[in-house]
């Protein structure tokens, strides 16, 4: 029986596993950082919707022989902008706008791929994720787009933070609040597309919400939620990848299962801690639902 170091190192002797590791780490960190906004501004429904809407772009690009990523990104960002536009101008709530638009886009994707049945197996990789199939070109795209989103968040951190806390005051102080709100949604859209290959359209919302929610149980400083969430997310990605390799199960599902397990452990730990010291650490509950 092989010893522990071999168990840990052996999987990554395969180039496809090295690429998978790089992809999951980038996706994990990106999802957790963007996820801090998703969790605290109640945007998980939007995140899920953008992921599903991107499927229309995937299907159309697939049929048209264009870049899948480009198609997905266009569909996700277009949906993000439409949601904001509709909820600002039409007299419907953003919730309703999301419900209408994401079902429309996902259906469009399903109708398009139903015309090309023999290819649907490949498209399953986008729906449920297959990080083991990530190629070098995928990796370049993932790291470029993901790096760009992270850079924007670092550079505009204080403005995004201000708008998240108090959009009315932010506008009164002269910040372009509408533009920053569009930008945040567009960044969630790009994140969803970046995570598509590794995690899968159906499961992306878990990576957006769970690590940031776990971090929110442990700290109440926004930037620390981002950093700790990124750390927890990376941990879940690596452990999930091992699980996927050794148990021969779908990578996206494995990573999400590990991430949820960590969340439940932390939740249990903080609940016990709060009960042992009543009055201290009381306000640890994060808003995880929309």
């Amino acid at each position: 029986m092989p010893d522990l170091p071999h168990l840990l190192i052996d999987p990554f002797l395969f180039p496809f596993m090295q690429r998978a590791l790089a992809a999951t780490l980038i996706v994990g960190v990106l999802c957790a950082v963007v996820g801090a906004f998703v969790v605290w501004k109640g945007l998980s429904f939007v995140g899920d919707a953008l992921a599903h809407a991107s499927f229309a772009g995937v299907a159309i690009a697939f049929v048209a022989g264009q870049s899948i990523y480009l198609g997905a990104a266009v569909a996700a960002v277009a949906t993000a902008l439409s949601i904001t536009f509709l909820s600002r101008t039409a007299r419907i709530s953003s919730d309703t706008a999301i419900g209408v638009l994401f079902a429309f886009a996902f259906s469009l994707g399903i109708v398009v791929i139903s015309r090309v049945q023999n290819y649907t197996v490949d498209l399953f990789a986008y729906l449920f994720g297959n990080v083991l199939g990530v190629g070098v070109d995928d990796l370049v795209l993932i790291s470029t787009a993901g790096g760009l989103v992270l850079l924007v968040i670092v550079l505009l951190y204080k403005e995004l933070f201000f708008v998240a806390f108090d959009p009315v005051m932010a506008e009164a102080s002269g910040l372009p609040v509408g533009l920053l709100q569009y930008l945040l949604l567009a960044m969630i859209g790009v994140t969803v597309v970046v995570a598509m290959r590794a995690i899968g359209i159906v499961l992306v919302v878990a990576m957006l919400v769970t690590p940031a929610a776990t971090a929110s149980l442990l700290t109440r400083r926004f930037h620390r939620i981002m950093l700790l969430g990124a750390l927890l997310s990376a941990l879940a990605s690596i452990l999930g990848l091992y699980l996927s390799f050794y148990a021969n199960v779908a990578s996206g599902g494995a990573i999400v299962l590990v991430s949820t397990t960590i969340f439940l452990l932390v939740l249990g730990f903080t609940s016990v801690q709060a009960r042992l010291r009543p009055g201290a650490a009381s306000s640890g509950a994060a808003r995880t639902s929309t």
């Binding site: 605290w40 501004k41 550079l155 505009l156 204080k158 403005e159 933070f161 201000f162 998240a164 806390f165 108090d166 009315v168 005051m169 932010a170 506008e171 009164a172 102080s173 002269g174 910040l175 929110s216 109440r220 400083r221 926004f222 939620i225 306000s283 808003r287």
Partner: protein, 282 residues
Amino acid sequence: MSGRAPDGAEDRKPVLATATEPAIVMQDVTAGYRDHPALEDVTLTVPTGAMMAIVGPNGGGKSTLLKLLLGLLAPWRGSVGVLGTEPAQARARIGYVPQTGSGDWSFPATVGEVVMMGRYRRLGWLRRPGRRDWSAVEEALDRVGMADRRNRQVGELSGGQQQRVFFARALVQEPELLLLDEPLAGVDALTERDIYALLRQLVDRGVTVLFTTHNLSTVAEQFDLVAFVNRRIVASGPPSEVFGEQTLRATYGPRMALVQVGDRYYAIDVGSHGETAGVGDA
């Protein structure tokens, strides 16, 4: 009983513009939402360094007036000048204290972080707060009596403490014009007293203060100037000149009567017995 200014107000001389340009000049301004006008034909001049109260009923256009001054709303007709320029251009020099409850108080942010938001425009894009900004935050928190709560979550604060945080945020901005939207609604008496003392210090340094309020009793005590607003400017000037039953009736309707108890004023709705309306004082 009614229509008389309290003794204190007669001693205080109103601050008048001397050589300096007025802080606010509104001329024949009509503005509103969709097709419903909230303010009509408003002409108002606020001299630099004055402390003015904007008094009027709910829905009378007080908040609309502040939005116009912040450039968040464009007038349908007329012109709005703030600090010698257009409102949008003056924003970096305008401090704003919103009503209690503005903002997402469940959001993970500390007292210090929220006060620092007042420095953001001064810092500009891409720059991070430095040591001077943090010491400005420290000093502002000290002035509002919240120095020991810098690292507390804002969600844990009481209404009065939240308002002190907003006030500190306006202070670190080092504004030339300070706009306050009902800042005393739901605030305890101690906070109210502290806020008036701080405002007076700012005014003494030449800051112009514009303050919307329900609370008639404090107007005569605390302000140099008052404007009564109900869609139009009903009256404006020093409290001792404009305070009276006639003005009050024109602002709040014919059922209101002004009652003086000690040095405090109350607007009483004489139609429905015993109910005070338009008064925040109890």
